[in-house]
Amino acid sequence: MINKKLDRKADIQILDGNHAAALGAKLSRVQVIAAYPITPQSPVTESLSEFVEGGDLHAEYIAVESEHSAMAVCTSASLVGARTFTATSSHGLAYMHEMLHWVAGTRLPVVLACVNRAIGAPWNVQNDQQDSISQRDTGWIQIYARNNQEILDSVIQAYKIAESVYVPVMVCYDGYILSHTEMPVDVPSQGDVDRFLPPYKPHAILDPANPRNYNLVTLANPRVNADGILCHGYMEIRYLLQEALQKSRETIINVGQEFGKLFARSYANMFWEDRLDDAEIVIVAMGSLAMEATVAVDMLREEGHRVGVLSLRVFRPFPKDYLIEALSKARLIVVFDKNISYGSEGATCSEIKSALYGNRINAVIRNFIVGLGGRDVKAREIADAVRKSLPSLEEGGPNIEYPEWICHM
């Protein structure tokens, strides 16, 4: 459904993921950008500096000396009411770790593009999702894109979400597979994005005319401050952040629906479904891997297996309740993770298991660790893993140690 009020019907550009992210930030009229180059994110910084220096984007671009400083700059710029953006990958995100907590704890609507890359040691610049998964407990919303259109759309939506619930948002997309791969992207007009995303109106900012203090020393228990007002203790502030993440599910869906109405690309759910209606076998994947999984489903359907794909779009907050219905008919769930929680299993697998607990879904769950450090994951390998899992439909879970790895070990 194309809204008649739109400026134009379509402006298809051939963009790689990094330029889609940069364009998303530009269309969101970001006001402060602070970044440090790192492979494979660097072209994002190059595009944005070109926009700024060429006068196409009225923003401050700060070429800081490290990612830690990049996020510190975003934090304080956001605190005085600016819409802020940064992008990073891998070691850069890890180096930001302290400030990621700081931003979420201060409840600032910073948006970060994470170009997913493996983390060292050993050195590797190629793709997996260990970097952003390692930051899942920092209090950020995490959105994963399957393709470059979703990168651009998600950055724009991220500001609307972040500025509604005062929780920062990380838009994650696979290094090289998306960041350096060009594909057609429908680029919305500035006017339409302005209609969707009004200027940022901060709920509280640093303003010398009206002094406030932020990020105070906060003890375990509530205490009276210098003005005699009873203030939250540390636990209450943590509770409120958790509440904000939990409640953000509704906002994420509403923003996705609204985006769909305006741009005819709906993001009305926190995950994507592909042929789940009659599926007794469900492949779970996140990011570009989900696109590969749809090809595997084509192959498996031809063999007569009733298979579908559930692709996680939002990892934090995890859409537990929403998943139950989608998985209610599943008898076998095969989860592919491009990350590993050492000593346990893939992170999305743990989440799926946790979501199913107590919901009378008697599906067998198998977990495959794939694609670490840029190891290619072919549709054929996904299909093979599903075929290998088929006996579980009759025999229940395999009597082997979880998870299984698709590698030469």
């Binding site: 440090y36 000396e65 070691h91």
Partner: protein, 251 residues
């Protein structure tokens, strides 16, 4: 016939992956020659950085442990303190030592760590594709300063060697270049003095080497050698910046 020149024994017999005209190949050669000449082979441990020279271990036939972005001087400190007999060097670019690794460098120098930093300055972030580094010259065009570095908002080329020279624990600091046979010879002498300061247990040494990056400078190798002479040296003058080793010339 007397053989006067040969491939350094400690340079592995593999082709360099570096771009034509890149300074790393020259510096790798100088360093492996020196390690051999100074009989450091059994004591030397190198800390290569992230960046193009992340592959230094592929060429140096000596012990090496990679460090994460900017951590070189701290990593070298750990090795040196636990293994003081070792001769420890970091090999770092300007996007590393002069940016994300500034704090580590200054504080290792201030502690007078007996380590030697080999600091390759090419005025850009090389491996990531030529973005502006803290060392980028005023008005220099890079991929993140497409209209030239505007010092009013993007800062000035940072002079790490002069900054580190202010720190008491630093004992030998020299800036050289590898853009002419004469400068290459001076560079070798400087690295020798840096290693000697460490061997003599005197303190922190740093050798800054202006090094061509024809690919990211969008020049041919000859032009990039000239650019060092005509532009870079004006901002980063060559010579000994600090020497409190009390030694005369190593030659």
């Amino acid at each position: 016939m007397r053989k006067v020149y040969t491939r350094p024994r400690l340079l592995k017999k593999v082709p360099f992956h570096y771009c034509p005209g890149c300074g790393h190949s020259i510096i790798h050669r100088l360093m492996t020659e020196l390690i051999d000449e100074m009989h450091l082979e059994d004591r030397i441990i190198g800390i290569p950085p992230p960046g193009c020279s992340v592959f230094a271990y592929h060429y140096f036939d000596v012990d090496m442990a990679e460090s994460a972005h900017g951590r070189g001087a701290a990593v070298a400190t750990g090795i040196k303190r636990a293994f003081p007999e070792a001769i420890v060097f970091t090999y770092q670019g300007d996007g590393d030592l002069a940016a994300i690794g500034t704090a580590e460098t200054i504080h290792a120098a201030n502690r007078g760590e007996r380590i030697t930093a080999i600091f390759i300055n090419n005025a850009v972030y090389g491996m990531t594709g030529g973005q502006m580094a803290p060392t980028t010259l005023s008005q220099q065009v890079t991929t993140t300063t497409p209209y030239g570095r505007d010092t009013g908002i993007e800062g000035y080329p940072i002079k790490m060697s002069e900054i580190v020279a202010l720190v008491k624990g630093a004992v030998y600091i020299e800036r050289t270049a590898v853009n002419s046979p004469a400068n290459i010879r001076k560079t070798k002498k400087a690295i020798r003095k840096g290693f000697q300061a460490q061997i003599d247990n005197l303190g922190f040494s740093l050798i800054e080497i202006l090094s061509p990056c024809p690919t990211n400078w969008r020049m041919n190798p000859l032009e990039s050698w000239q650019w060092i002479d005509n532009e870079m040296i004006k901002e980063f003058p060559l010579g000994v910046i600090k020497d409190i080793t009390g030694k005369t010339d190593a030659d």
